[in-house]
């Protein structure tokens, strides 16, 4: 049975069907599983160990931000993570697109930015890390409720697969 949340998630992806879709609750106990999964997938898509670690770090930071700031540490919110390999030449992927969606509190995407690194204090580093390790990062409101984060990492031409 397709629930209202599933319908919303499908609509928000513009009708695109991801190769893989993960649905989890906003409980931090599942973060380790999500980062292991994305690291494995990244390796299979041809990223080297360093790049795969960075992609896993970005997803981990994104999910932690949704749980902490979006759902304000509530553990019963829903989060969807969709994976799209980017089309490359000769059936190999040119990279990976990861879309993280939630039904949490909406914020103005223009106000989502990493904090000044000169300001040495705990917190606020996650967005900076995501922007630093991924090639493209886009936040947007997801319809009437929730946020969508799209992150893209491409293979680096001429530099192996990192």
């Amino acid at each position: 049975m397709t629930g209202q949340s599933d319908v919303l998630a499908e609509v928000s992806l513009g009708g695109r069907q991801p190769d893989l879709r993960l649905e989890l609750v906003s409980n931090p106990v599942y973060l380790c599983g999500a980062r292991e999964l994305v690291a494995q997938i990244s390796r299979r898509l041809g990223f080297d160990e360093h790049a795969s670690s960075q992609i896993a770090l970005a997803l981990d930071e994104a999910l932690a931000n949704v749980i902490r700031h979006g759902y304000e540490s509530r553990e019963d919110g829903r989060i969807w993570v969709s994976f799209f390999p980017l089309a490359g030449q000769n059936a190999s992927a040119a990279g990976i697109e990861i879309v993280v969606e939630d039904e949490a509190r909406q914020v103005d995407p223009l106000k989502i930015k990493g904090r000044d690194l000169e300001d040495i204090r705990p917190g606020g580093l996650g967005v900076h890390i995501i922007r630093e390790v991924m090639d493209e990062v886009r936040y947007e409101k997801r319809g009437e409720r929730g946020m969508r984060l799209t992150m893209i990492k491409r293979h680096t031409p001429g530099a192996g697969n990192g």
Binding site: P28, C32, D60, A64, I120, I129, E132
Partner: protein, 115 residues
């Protein structure tokens, strides 16, 4: 039933320093356990607190934030904080956050405890 800590954080004492040894990955779920142990270490007013990250194979920003909090306690209490045992993967996140120069980072526990 009491919830089990998501990671093991052992504590040892050497030459008046307390060495905190987390074991595993330190993300959003695990960071509070490390935070509690570091606080306990500082509360004992040792000569120095050492965070031995040799058995930490992954760290994200909640782990970094925990260490920044510990650094703030260190400055307030004048008990030095030294970090050691970082592998390349963990050092990378310090560098991305440009925090590698903020902390005293050395190679191993022996060096960290000395001085």
């Amino acid at each position: 039933m009491a919830e089990q800590d998501p990671i093991e954080v052992r504590m040892s004492e050497r030459d008046g320093a307390i060495v905190v040894h987390p074991d595993g990955e330190i993300g959003y779920h695990e960071a509070p356990t490390l935070r509690n142990k570091l606080k306990v270490a500082f509360d004992r007013s040792p000569r120095k607190v050492v965070a031995d990250l040799a058995n930490v194979d992954y760290m994200s920003t909640p782990g970094l934030a925990t260490l920044v909090e510990a650094l703030q306690i260190s400055k307030r209490t004048k008990v030095p904080l030294v970090i050691c045992g970082l592998n390349e993967r963990v050092l990378a996140i310090f560098e991305i956050a440009k925090l590698q120069t903020v902390f005293t980072i050395v190679g191993g526990v022996d060096e960290a405890v000395r001085g």
